[in-house]
Amino acid sequence: MSRYLFVVPPFFGHISPTLSVGAALLSRGHEVMWAGLQGIASDRVPSGGTFVVLKSDPEELERILRRQDDGPSVGGAEVLKLALEETYIPLGRMMMRELPALAAHYQPDVIVNDCICFAGAFCAYLMGVRCVTTTPVPPDVMGSAMDMPRIREWQERLIRDLQRECGIYSDRVVIHSDLMNIVFTSKLFAGIAEPAGSLQFVGPVRGRPEEGDFDWKRLEESAGQRIFISLGTLLVDIRRAFFRKMVEAFRDQPVTIVAATDPAILEEWPENFIVQAYVPQARVLEKMDMVICHGGFNTVNDALLNELPILIIPIAYDHFHTASLIERAGCGISIRYKRLRIADVQRAADRLLEDKEYRQNAARVKESFRQSGGSVRAVELLEEVAGRPVEAAAGDEGDRRLVDDMLFGGNVGSNGGSIKQNQ
């Protein structure tokens, strides 16, 4: 049996797939620990696993988290700066205060670092432990920015500086595993026919604990077709404005809306809105006819797994890339939040509910997810890595590729990406 240490950022969208994979590892008898900067609800941690909250600087952490809300109001290039300079680098630095000691004490066989948690890969490098990276969203979100030499230079400089600060004097960029990068979507949906060697597409993973009550009776008795609306867990500031628009669009429509948000953001909700802060999303979606979301990846995956058409309203970060993938797969319609007209939302919803083709295309994506293997495949891969001999990490001249396209496979990316970087 092996010991796995997942290193995760304080963003739930990144944590949740690792909970599903971790639960599957635990059920196979392995030991699993998570290390993050912010705790999660204890009923979300798979039983038998441990979630360790690393020491942090609470004020700085709070500032970093709040800064994520500025994503929607800054442009594509500025978002890159926000992500790297103001999020990933300081989070990495903060985690390096305690993570090395924790890892040394726990002695993991494999460190599994989320793609924006550089500290996990740094510890693996310094300790000579096997490293696997997890990427929750489809790669290739860098779009045109990766074609720009001076942007690439800037990224590499920042990362090398952080590495030196952490005692890694290699010229290689070691923020990700060069052994294996597990991506939680399918090649078909990501639009990558022949992925680079270390990439493993396992599809979305399920099986993490999902608790929470829901008014099932009210839903059963509701009239018309049902639309689920979620903005995910980030993006607090624009929540009110967003849901006001949704109310305006659907208050007089013959549909029932399930809105996953704190009801207190609006004083009043129309009769046909069922509003609740935390919903058991996977189970609720089984009863839905359509999903409206900003492009948070867990919601997109859950929608596709239920063969539901998606109206995606991208707001910032990697949402634009996800929106383009959804449109290309023919399973939804994208309307940019900044250019949102109520009439367009209504028209799009009508089309998505009526035209069966969107559902059929969503079913095709779902099938590609199923074939990718999910957590069973992820566990197989992780067990396989644990069985490999540990190579001497230091001085490894292997893959000299520097900042790869997976860097911003996290909560950020350039807007859109019409000029595509091929994998």
């Binding site: 594509g76 290039a77 045109s144 074609d147 720009m148 942007i151 900044k338 859109g416």
Partner: protein, 98 residues
């Protein structure tokens, strides 16, 4: 409307660019913004890369093949990209045409 640029040729370019922006992002959204030479593409006009590409295609079609937008942009660093405004484009087009 008062001229926003000091020389007539630049003024003409500005008006053309203003028109293209309206076409790309929707005239009703463009009207809500006070678009001037100092408007930056990402921050003020909130244009995403799909819109910027659509815009640059219109510019190329109108001002000619020598206006190589993607090539010009690819030489920029992050801060130049963030600050990119309409005046920069006017000057670039002007240079390409001279």
């Amino acid at each position: 409307m008062d001229a926003v640029m000091s020389n007539p040729k630049e003024e003409q370019i500005f008006l053309m660019l203003r028109k293209f922006i309206g076409e790309v992002i929707g005239e009703e959204f463009a009207e809500e913004m006070e678009i001037g030479p100092d408007s930056s593409f990402t921050r003020d006009l909130e244009m995403d890369s799909i819109e910027i590409v659509a815009f640059s295609e219109k510019v190329k079609k109108y001002f000619g093949q020598q206006v190589d937008f993607p090539g010009w942009l690819s030489g920029m660093d992050i801060d130049q990209l963030i600050a990119l405004n309409i005046r920069d484009i006017i000057e670039y087009i002007d240079k390409c045409q001279s």
